[in-house]
C-alpha cells in the first residue's frame, strides 16, 4: 500500500505538481496594468526570471509611474515553463484582473499558448523571452509583438559566423520542444544555403542534466560544429561536459545558439571562453547601455542580458503607445505600437513590422578569455553588428497572414 502511494506520488511529482502562484494586485479600472509572466524558478530563471520583473518596474518608474493620469501597475507570476499553467494565469489576468498587456513570456511553447489566448481575447502581448519565429509567422496576432530576438536572428548571427569560419558540417543537440525545433531548422537552413551540410541531430528533453550520451553521438558524427539548439542551464551543462569529453580539444566547435550574459556568468569564463553568441544588447557597449546596466545592477546584483533590457524596452514602448493613443483600448494601442519607431538604449532605430516583429540591430559577441576580462561581468568582445534587416525575416515572407 505504502509503495503504491509512494509510486503515485513520485509520478505525480514527475509530471509536475502545480504550485500555481496567484497574481498579486487588486482589480481596478482606473489603472494600466502590465503582467510579467515567465519562468521564475526553473531552468530559465536567470535568463529572465524575477530580474525581468525588476526591469519592467524600472521602465514604469522612468516613465513617471503614470500614463494618461492613471497609475501603472506591474503584476507577475511564475509559469514554470508549462503552457497550461501559463494559459490559465493569462485568462485570469485578462478576464478578472484587468491586466491590459502580458509581457516577457520566456519559453516558446508558453509564448505560443499565451499569444493565442491574447488573440482570442483581443488583448496585447509582447514577447521578449521566447525565441520561435512562429510568433510572428504562422501564429501571428494583430495584438501580438515579438521584441528582443528570435531563432532567425540567432541562426543568422551565430550560425552565420561559424559557417564563415569554415564550419560547414553540423550536428545538432536540440531541446525537444517548439523552440528547439525552430532554432535547429532555421540554423540548418542557413547552413545549407551557405553550402554546408547537416550530419544529424539528437533531441533531448528540457532540463536534462547529463549530456554525455548526446555529446558522444555528436562526437562520433565527426561534424565540425555541434549546434546547441537549447538554452539556459541545459546549454551550460552541455558546454561544461563537452570540454570534459575532449570534444572541443578534438577540434569540434560548439555553437551555443541561444546563450546570454546570464549563462556565461553561471558557467564562468574558464569554461565559456571563445564561444560565439548573438544577443540584442550588451551592457558594456556604450555609455547609454552602461548607464542602464549600473542602475539595474544596483537593484538586482547582476548585469542585464537582452531579455531584461528587452522587457524594459517593451514596457516603455507600450506606455508610450498608450499615451499616443490616448486610451488603453487594445486596437488603438496595437495600431500605435505598429506605427511608432522604437528608439531607446536597447533598440536603436527599431521598427515594428506588420507581423508584430520588432526589427532592430543584433550583436555578434565572443566570450573573452579570463585574462582579457578587466572587471566583473566584462565578458564579451563585440565582433560585429548585424543589421536588423539581415537578422530578422522580412515580414512579407514571414508566413503571417496579416501581411498583405
Amino acid at each position: 500500500m505504502r509503495k503504491t502511494v509512494l509510486a503515485s506520488l513520485a509520478l505525480l511529482l514527475a509530471s509536475g505538481t502545480a504550485f500555481a502562484q496567484t497574481a498579486s494586485g487588486a482589480a481596478s479600472d482606473g489603472k494600466v496594468k502590465i503582467g510579467i509572466l515567465n519562468d521564475q524558478s526553473g531552468v530559465y530563471a536567470d535568463f529572465g526570471g524575477k530580474s525581468s520583473v525588476e526591469a519592467a518596474r524600472m521602465a514604469v518608474e522612468d516613465f513617471g509611474g503614470k500614463v494618461l493620469g492613471v497609475p501603472v501597475e506591474i503584476v507577475d507570476a511564475d509559469h514554470q515553463n508549462k503552457a497550461d499553467i501559463a494559459s490559465n494565469i493569462a485568462r485570469q489576468w485578462y478576464d478578472t484582473q484587468q491586466v491590459d498587456a502580458i509581457m516577457e513570456l520566456t519559453t516558446s511553447s508558453v509564448a505560443l499558448a499565451v499569444q493565442s489566448v491574447a488573440k482570442e481575447k483581443k488583448k496585447i502581448d509582447i514577447v521578449t523571452g521566447a525565441a520561435t519565429t512562429d510568433l510572428t509567422g504562422k501564429a501571428c496576432s494583430p495584438y501580438g509583438f515579438h521584441w528582443a530576438y528570435d531563432t532567425h536572428a540567432l541562426a543568422v548571427g551565430t550560425g552565420g559566423a561559424l559557417v564563415k569560419q569554415g564550419g560547414d558540417s553540423w550536428f545538432f543537440l536540440t531541446a525537444d520542444y517548439a523552440f528547439g525545433y525552430s532554432l535547429e531548422q532555421q540554423t540548418g537552413d542557413y547552413v545549407k544555403s551557405s553550402g554546408g551540410k547537416i550530419l544529424g541531430s539528437v533531441r533531448h528533453p528540457l532540463s536534462t542534466s547529463d549530456f554525455s550520451s548526446f555529446l558522444l553521438q555528436a562526437q562520433s558524427s565527426g561534424a565540425k560544429v555541434i549546434g546547441l539548439a537549447n538554452a539556459g542551464l541545459d546549454t551550460a551543462n552541455a558546454i561544461k561536459q563537452a570540454s570534459e569529453f575532449g570534444i572541443t580539444q578534438g577540434g569540434q566547435h560548439l555553437a551555443a545558439l541561444l546563450f546570454t550574459l546570464a549563462e556565461v556568468h553561471g558557467l564562468g569564463l574558464e569554461a565559456a571562453q571563445g564561444l560565439t553568441l548573438t544577443e540584442g544588447y550588451y551592457w558594456n557597449l556604450d555609455d547609454k547601455s552602461r548607464e542602464f546596466a549600473k542602475k539595474f545592477f544596483a537593484r538586482t546584483k547582476k548585469m542585464p542580458n537582452m531579455i531584461h533590457t528587452g522587457t524594459y524596452s517593451a514596457v516603455l514602448q507600450y506606455l508610450k503607445a498608450v499615451q499616443k493613443a490616448g486610451t488603453d483600448d487594445t486596437e488603438a494601442v496595437a495600431k500605435a505600437l505598429h506605427e511608432m519607431p522604437v528608439d531607446d538604449f536597447f533598440a536603436r532605430g527599431g521598427t515594428v513590422g506588420a507581423n508584430g516583429r520588432m526589427i532592430h540591430d543584433m550583436y555578434l559577441l565572443q566570450v573573452k578569455k579570463p585574462a582579457e576580462s578587466k572587471e566583473p561581468w566584462d565578458y564579451f568582445n563585440v565582433l560585429a553588428t548585424i543589421p536588423g534587416k539581415e537578422a530578422y525575416i522580412d515580414p512579407a515572407k514571414s508566413g503571417c497572414d496579416l501581411v498583405k
Partner: protein
C-alpha cells in the same frame, strides 16, 4: 564494423559506460534513501536537497576557505550529515509516531525551503566547480574518450556503496540498527540508545547524499535545481529495487542508469520517462520491487 541493434559496437559500448557512470549517482543516492527508509520508515524527500547542499558546501568551502576537492569530499558530507542529524533530532523525530506520510510531507517542505533559499541566493544557472587537477583530462579507450574524473566517480561510488552495505549488514553497529528497526522497545531494554541510533542513521543518509553531491559538482553545474532534477528518478530506483532493500537499491541504480543510457541512443525523446515506465511495469508484476520482500 560490428553492429548491435543497428548501431555501431563502439557507440554501444560508449553508451553502456556512460550508463554505468550515471548509474553510480543513482546507486549512491538511492542507497541513502533506502537506508533511511529501511531503518527509520521515513520517506526522505529532502534527499535531493541534501545532495545539492553537498555540492554547494564543496563550492563554498573552495570559494571562502580555499579548501580543495579532496578535503571537501570528507568535510561536506560531515557538515551536511550534522545538519541532517540536527533536523532529525529537533523536528523529524517528533513525527515517528504518526503516519509515514507526515514524514514525507515534512521532508518535502524542507526540500522546497532549502532549494528556494539557494535559488534566491545563487540563481538557477548555478556556479562552476572545476575538476581537481589530479583527475583532469581523459583516456582514449578506443571506443570512447573517458574523462578520468568520470572513471573515478564509478570507482569511488562503488566503494561507498559496498562500504555502507557492509556497515549495515556485517558489523555490530549495523546489527543494532537492524534490531532497533524490528523492535525498538526490546533493543532499548538491552541498554542500546535507540534514538541516538536513529539520529546517526539519518545523518549517515544525508551524508551519503552530500557525498554524491560533491562527486557531481565537477560534472554538472552546481545549481539549486540539481537535486530536484534527480530526486524523482532516484525514488523510482528505490521503488523498482524494493523499498528498504539496500542491495536492491544499489543494483537497481546501476541497472536503470544503463537502461536510461541506452534509451538515449535508440529513442532520446523517451530518455527521461524510461525509468518511470520500468517502474510501472515492475509495480504491476512485482509490487514489492525486484529485490523487496513482501510486506
Amino acid at each position: 564494423m560490428t553492429m548491435i541493434f543497428g548501431i555501431p559496437l563502439q557507440a554501444f559500448l560508449g553508451q553502456l559506460l556512460i550508463g554505468l557512470i550515471n548509474g553510480s549517482f543513482y546507486a549512491l543516492l538511492s542507497l541513502g534513501l533506502a537506508v533511511i527508509f529501511g531503518l527509520l520508515r521515513v520517506i526522505n524527500f529532502a534527499h535531493g536537497a541534501q545532495y545539492m547542499l553537498g555540492a554547494f558546501v564543496a563550492m563554498l568551502l573552495l570559494q571562502y576557505f580555499g579548501i580543495n576537492y579532496w578535503f571537501a569530499l570528507i568535510l561536506a558530507p560531515l557538515i551536511v550529515g550534522l545538519f541532517g542529524a540536527i533536523i532529525e533530532r529537533t523536528m523529524l523525530s517528533r513525527l515517528y509516531d504518526l503516519d509515514p506520510l507526515y514524514g514525507l510531507l515534512f521532508t518535502f517542505g524542507l526540500a522546497l525551503t532549502i532549494e528556494g533559499t539557494f535559488r534566491y541566493l545563487y540563481g538557477s544557472s548555478g556556479q562552476p566547480y572545476t575538476v581537481p587537477p589530479q583527475l583532469a583530462g581523459g583516456i582514449n579507450l578506443g571506443f570512447m574518450f573517458l574523462p578520468i574524473y568520470r572513471g573515478w566517480v564509478v570507482v569511488i561510488s562503488l566503494a561507498a556503496c559496498i562500504g555502507t552495505w557492509l556497515l549495515i549488514e556485517k558489523t555490530k553497529l549495523g546489527a543494532y540498527l537492524r534490531a532497533a528497526t524490528e523492535n525498538p522497545v526490546l533493543v532499548q531494554a538491552f541498554g542500546v540508545n535507540v534514538p541516538l541510533l536513529l539520529t546517526l542513521t539519518y545523518g549517515l543518509g544525508a551524508a551519503l547524499a552530500a557525498f554524491a553531491g560533491v562527486l557531481a559538482a565537477p560534472v554538472y553545474q552546481v545549481s539549486p535545481l540539481m537535486g530536484s532534477n534527480i530526486i524523482i528518478v532516484v525514488f523510482a530506483v528505490v521503488v523498482v529495487g524494493g523499498m528498504g532493500s539496500i542491495m536492491g537499491a544499489i543494483l537497481t541504480g546501476y541497472m536503470l542508469g544503463i537502461a536510461e543510457g541506452l534509451t538515449k541512443v535508440f529513442y532520446p525523446e523517451a530518455s527521461n520517462i524510461v525509468i518511470f515506465v520500468i517502474m510501472a511495469i515492475v509495480l504491476l508484476i512485482r509490487p514489492a520491487g525486484l529485490f523487496g520482500r513482501d510486506a
